[in-house]
Amino acid sequence: MSTFLWVIFPYLCLAVFVVGHWWRYKYDKFGWTTRSSQLYEDNLLKWGSPLFHFGMLGVVGGHIIGLLLPKGWTDAIGISEETYHAFALGGGLVAGAMTFVGLVMLIYRRRTVRPVFKATTPMDKVMYLFLAGVILLGCWNTVASVIFDSHFNYRESVSPWFRQIFWFQPDASLMTGAPLGFQAHALLAFALFALWPFTRLVHVFSAPVGYLTRPYIVYRSRGSKVQDGLGNRSGSPTWERPSLDDAKR
């Protein structure tokens, strides 16, 4: 059983995640969007959305540090366990609280503002369920560690296990000893990864960082090869011959 939960299931989910994205991009470029509902309602969104998204960026950053950086490394540069813990807890609480408040506002908005609710697909609802579950469990794990003053150190069990997944040698026993909250958080998160390509969450991978460097005005030729696509759809890269140059910054 533990092999299934901590070895097979994660790989299944990751496989679906990767293949799913590839398939979705090929099959459905047109559906690849944030599906913003700002046009319908702005007052709640104005607060909820930035809180949630910026909180989420913090959360992701925290997970990268917590999961991907081996404990040995922080030890090596002289960051003590206490310092690390205090830092992680502080950051985690702030980011978690932002995300949580944002999420509550957004879900409330989605349910009560009629046009927004009408624009919610069944897939959205499933996605919200998993997303909220993962976030709530994550918050709970952080808060619980404070309340019960637990000495469970995820950096000695969950994190190595997570890294091992990428070396293809996950050791299930590392997870079996983790508190239930952590186990559930991890499992649900993997389930969310499996759902990911089939939801609006794909927009995460469109984060437009390229905007910072590309020329302002994009020129594109109508295209002369048939496979270039016709009219305003095209298979070619978005900006081929930038011309009103970088002078514009």
């Binding site: 099959y27 459905d28 470029k29 047109f30 559906g31 690849w32 969007t33 944030t34 599906r35 913003s36 509902s37 700002q38 046009l39 319908y40 309602e41 702005d42 969104l45 104005k46 959305s49 930035p50 998204h53 910026f54 009629r114 046009p115 009408k118 624009a119 897939m123 089939f198 609006r200 927009h203 469109s206 437009p208 960082v209 390229g210 905007y211 910072l212 590309r214 302002y216 005005i217 994009v218 020129y219 594109r220 030729s221 109508r222 002369s224 048939v226 016709l230 009219g231 305003n232 759809r233 095209s234 978005t238 900006w239 011959r241 011309s243 009103l244 140059d245 002078a247 514009k248 910054r249």
Partner: protein, 516 residues
């Protein structure tokens, strides 16, 4: 010198009767879909008035277009980083209320009503919530109410002259302003798009949204000062006027032009030098922008321009079209067309011949001869309000160019009267506005009686590509051609692209050109 061709339009506002035919046909062609109910790629506004979306011209509020900061051109909403930081909630995005909440009527009740004493009523239902609603605003709610006290004072273009409007000029004036996307040389929508999905076509300058690359960040909606990019709330993608490119490519005019009752729209090519655009858009003085933009345009009769164009692969038929272009003549030769809000610094390419009618009407009302040049010139000078208002629209408030255009139109009116009445034409009239007799007559022909082929000089897309553009089927940008429900797996319109065939445009073209 680099030479690029731009498909451009000029509208002669004197002839617009505000019938909204253009809006309706455009809507039927492009935006009669779910998610686009509130969208009018072409709309006709009564001026003075609020426009659509309401008060779109108030850039202090909407922050559309470009601005100069320390001599550098910058998007008015701020730099790139600022844009990205605002990506989760666009602070300047108009809401549905700023456009209007679209509705339909429940006609069923009329059809199914039993015999009864009172006439049954069809109630308006919101197309957004599905509930019954009170209709409070629309895309042209203040239609024909030009001077109405309730709306006119809220017109952002009357800021600063509202007192004069009330005291000096009790006689109201009114005209119509049809608007489409300007297909700007320096499009702020494209510059605002984080995904780089909005692009300007190299061949004809038409600005389009790549529906596959758009990710729904909505920055173009707020970036465009003319508010001519719209968010499809069903598909989550931005959509905008396409200049009917599938029609243009086969040499026929846009739907709005084709169906214009007043025959007031002109389509043609203008040549310009893209390397001059940035400098022109960055001139210090707002009122110098009109001249600066004129300075970007190239003369297709100039041998040097011809050589450069040839080197850069602009086909011969396009050069020929550029020489014949009615748009070029109105903008560059006669200089009677002016850009809409040059101060937004996007270098718009749909220009307008400002209306002389507010002036003519006043002269007529006072019992004077409204076709006599002296009377008209006097009125143009005296009627500060309409002229200032027009200047606010077309020249960032500089009345000189507007005056110049109105004088030319007034002179043309007087000059042609003599001819129509069989009197000897008076050469001093065109001379008074710096034109030759023949030139004035040609201008009259173009503005008043030009046939289809003269109003629309549209070279087809490259011959060697044409077979591909026609009939094979243009893929529809929005594959959700009303599968009405939300049956698609990931929201409306998701899924593989659906190809639909367009009509045989060649046959239609022949039919349309029959009158010429």
């Amino acid at each position: 010198m680099r030479v690029m061709a731009q498909m451009a339009m000029v509208m002669n506002l004197d002839k617009c009767i505000g019938c909204h035919t253009c809006s309706v046909t455009c809507k039927q062609a492009w935006t009669n879909r779910n998610g686009m109910e509130y969208v009018w790629f072409n709309n006709v506004e009564t001026r003075p008035g609020l426009g659509y979306p309401r008060r779109w011209q108030d850039q202090e509020e909407w922050k559309g277009g470009w601005t100069l900061k320390n001599g550098h051109l910058q998007l008015k909403t701020g730099g790139r980083l600022q844009k990205l930081l605002n990506i989760f909630s666009n602070p300047k995005m108009p809401g549905m209320d700023d456009y209007y909440e679209p509705w339909t009527y429940d006609y069923e009740t009329l059809l199914n009503a039993p015999l009864q004493k009172n006439f049954p009523v069809a109630q308006p239902h919101s197309l957004i919530t599905g509930k019954t609603m009170n209709v409070k605003w629309s895309a042209n709610w203040d239609d024909d109410l030009g001077g109405a006290q309730e709306y006119a004072p809220k017109d952002p273009m009357l800021k600063g002259i509202e007192d004069k409007v009330k005291f000096e000029f009790e006689k109201t004036f009114m005209f119509y302003l049809p608007r489409i996307c300007e297909h700007c040389l320096n499009p702020a929508c494209a510059a605002s798009c984080p995904s780089g999905a909005i692009y300007k076509r190299e061949e004809d300058g038409i600005v389009l949204v790549d529906q596959d690359k758009c990710r729904g960040w909505r920055m173009c909606v707020s970036g465009c000062p003319y508010k001519k990019v719209y968010f499809n709330h069903k598909t989550g993608k931005a959509e905008k006027c396409t200049f009917c490119y599938p029609r243009i490519e086969v040499g026929i005019p846009t739907v709005c032009s084709e169906t214009c009752v007043g025959r007031l729209r002109y389509i043609g090519i203008i040549l310009y030098d893209p390397d001059k655009v940035l400098a022109a858009a960055s001139v210090e003085d707002d009122q110098a922008l009109y001249e600066a933009q004129l300075g970007c345009f190239l003369d297709p009769f100039d041998p040097e321009v011809q050589r450069a164009a040839e080197q850069q692969g602009i086909p011969m038929d396009w050069m020929e079209a550029a020489r014949k272009s009615p748009v070029r003549r109105l903008i560059q030769d006669y200089k009677v067309a002016l850009p809409l809000h040059p101060e937004y610094r996007t270098m718009p390419m749909v220009w307008y011949v400002p209306p002389l009618s507010p002036v003519v009407d006043v002269v007529k009302d006072t019992g004077h001869d409204a076709e006599e040049m002296g009377n008209l010139f006097g009125a143009i000078d005296a009627l500060r309000i309409p002229v200032e208002y027009l200047a606010g629209l077309f020249t960032a408030g500089d009345i000189e160019p507007v005056n110049g255009v109105l004088r030319k139109l007034a002179a043309m009116r007087s000059y042609m009267r003599d001819i129509n009445l069989g009197r000897d034409p008076d050469a001093s009239i065109p001379e008074a506005v710096g034109m030759g007799e023949e030139e004035m007559y040609e201008m009259f022909r173009l503005l008043a009686i030009a046939k289809y082929n003269e109003r629309y000089v549209i070279p087809t897309a490259h011959a060697e590509q044409a077979h591909r553009l026609e009939e094979i089927g243009t893929d529809c940008a929005v594959s959700a051609y009303d599968h009405s429900g939300d049956a698609e797996p990931f929201g409306v319109g998701s899924g593989p692209e659906v190809r639909i065939a367009v009509e045989d445009l060649r046959i239609r073209t022949a039919r349309m050109k029959d009158d010429a």
